[in-house]
């Protein structure tokens, strides 16, 4: 069953940036890519449980603010030491200027 949750307004996130979204005891990171697409992943780095929303988005990479572990936020793939466990990703849609994520 689908479970779409309204996360934020589309323009809450600047281009090539990320914000944190907490819902029902869980934390997510929602991204706006340089080409204006939206993505969502788990909010915490798989290395040391640090909030990725404090990190830097460059192209399709989110870099953890603490130890610079890198992930492709579009696929969740771990892309460099010290991270080796992939991030979980979630479907995203934008409707009437609002961003929804499906957290299933």
């Amino acid at each position: 069953m689908s479970n779409w949750i309204e996360a934020c307004a589309a323009d809450d996130i600047e281009e090539e940036d990320v914000i944190r979204f907490d819902h029902a005891g869980r934390t997510f990171a929602i991204y706006r890519s340089p080409d204006d697409e939206y993505f969502a992943t788990d909010g915490l780095c798989t290395h040391e449980q640090v909030h990725l929303a404090d990190g830097l988005v460059m192209d399709d990479i989110i870099e953890c603010p603490k130890h610079n572990g890198r992930f492709n936020y579009k696929t969740g793939a771990a892309r460099g030491a010290p991270v080796c466990v992939n991030l979980r990703t979630y479907p995203v849609k934008v409707d009437s200027g609002k961003v929804f994520i499906e957290i299933g």
């Binding site: 090539e16 640090v50 909030h51 404090d54 990190g55 830097l56 870099e63 603010p65 603490k66 130890h67 610079n68 030491a81 010290p82």
Partner: protein, 407 residues
């Protein structure tokens, strides 16, 4: 390919050899009983967790097995025979190499003013050290920390968190003299004082002696302090014995060139144990003791062992966590002509250090949690580019550093 030293640097090098397509034999030799683990938590979570935690692994035995990396633990490398291209091991056997990487790290500098064999004098380098140290950190105990550098202050914060009383003794006029601007050191000092850490700066140590079941710490000015344990954090020395006995060139550590090659073309060195020329700072020779440097150089050494011949391009970067504050520094601030402050709100701020020609050479930031992380990372990229950002823009929080990077 043989790697001596199974810390962060050696392990990253071993992985990187495989990631770069090398499929011949790789042997990683470490003298600790454990597989490679991360050292940063040793002064923090390993000490403060309610239950003694396990090491945080860089790689578990299964990963080494899957990558066909022969990871030999609990084994000291005794000597290098450069003619025969072999490394003699403590077990009596020898292992031959085509290319050798020395990643032996650094060891805490010993304090001659303290009894060498006391169970109440603690140094921190290994997981075993951290486990021993843990037992001293409890309510009712008074801990004296010798040295107000990063290790000493992180230990002080962890000891307070566990309920011990803490006094830090620093011979220099302030804490964090090395590598941290005074404005930021003052924020750190205030935070420690607010947590009831006693900071004694500009106070030399005379001697530490055992008095029954306690320690007596005598300061040069005559003051006597009783303590249950002394934690010593007075710097580290590169481990160079292997390199030295093999006749490799030394210069504040094992001297390597910009590609991490030692004076023997078949031997590289990387991480805390080596000094290297840093092109972005005019080729100045530096030695770094940081986690990121160990990772970066381990990875670069692996590529160069395979013939890539790439020079070091990374900007020095490190962080420290104390209480709820995180400090991050990118670059080397020495020689800055101009310092610009950028306030990020909630007490967090960054100091940008600019050279006389306007180039950004360093950025130091402090704040709660990861408040400064994003901007320090962008500053690191600006430094790497040799950018000359305008001081006004750096000082204005509304000007996104990312836009300066694109300029």
């Amino acid at each position: 390919m043989v790697i001596v030293g199974a810390g962060e640097c050696g392990a990253r090098a071993a992985f990187a050899l495989r990631e770069n397509g090398y499929d011949g034999p790789v042997t990683l030799i470490g003298d600790e009983p454990h597989h490679p683990y991360e050292r940063p938590p040793l002064s923090k979570d390993v000490l403060t967790a309610d239950e003694p935690p396990a090491p945080k692994w860089v790689g578990l035995p299964e990963r080494f097995a899957a990558l066909k990396i022969d990871c030999i633990t609990g084994m000291a490398a005794l000597a290098i025979d450069r003619q025969a291209k072999t490394v003699r091991l403590a077990g009596g056997s020898s292992i031959s190499y085509e290319k050798l990487l020395i990643a032996t790290g650094a060891m805490p500098r010993r304090l001659s003013l303290a009894p060498e064999a006391s169970g109440r004098i603690a140094y921190l380098r290994s997981f075993a050290d951290a486990q021993r140290l843990r037992d001293h950190l409890r309510p009712g105990n008074h801990i004296v920390v010798i040295g107000g550098g990063f290790i000493g202050l992180e230990l002080a914060a962890s000891a307070r968190k566990r309920g011990a009383a803490v006094t830090v003794i620093e011979a220099q006029p302030r804490i964090l003299m090395r590598g941290v601007p005074e404005e930021i050191a003052e924020v750190v000092a205030d935070r420690h004082r607010a947590e009831d850490v006693r900071l004694f700066c500009g106070r030399g140590l005379q001697e530490i002696s055992e008095q029954g079941r306690r320690l007596l710490v005598r300061l040069a000015d005559g003051e006597k302090i009783e303590a249950d344990c002394a934690l010593i954090g007075v710097g580290a020395q590169p481990v160079t014995t292997l390199a030295e006995s093999a006749g490799l060139a030394l210069d504040n550590g094992i001297a390597v060139d910009a590609t991490l090659k030692t004076s023997d073309p078949d031997i590289h060195a990387a991480g805390d144990c080596c000094s290297f020329p840093l092109a972005i700072y005019g080729g100045r020779r530096v030695r770094l003791e940081s986690w990121r440097n160990a990772q970066d150089q381990g990875t670069l050494a692996a590529r160069n062992m395979l013939g890539a011949d790439e020079p070091i391009s990374a900007v020095p970067w490190f962080w420290s966590d104390q209480h709820d504050l995180t400090l991050q520094v990118a670059g080397l601030a020495e020689g800055a002509a101009n310092v610009v402050r950028r306030d990020l709100g909630e007490g967090a701020f960054i100091l940008f250090h600019l050279a006389a020609d306007g180039r950004l050479i360093a950025a130091s930031g402090i704040g709660r949690g990861n408040a400064v992380a994003k901007d320090i990372r962008l500053a690191e990229m600006l430094i790497a580019k040799g950018a000359r950002p305008l001081p006004d823009q750096l000082a204005t929080p509304d000007v996104r550093l990312k836009t300066l990077l694109a300029a």
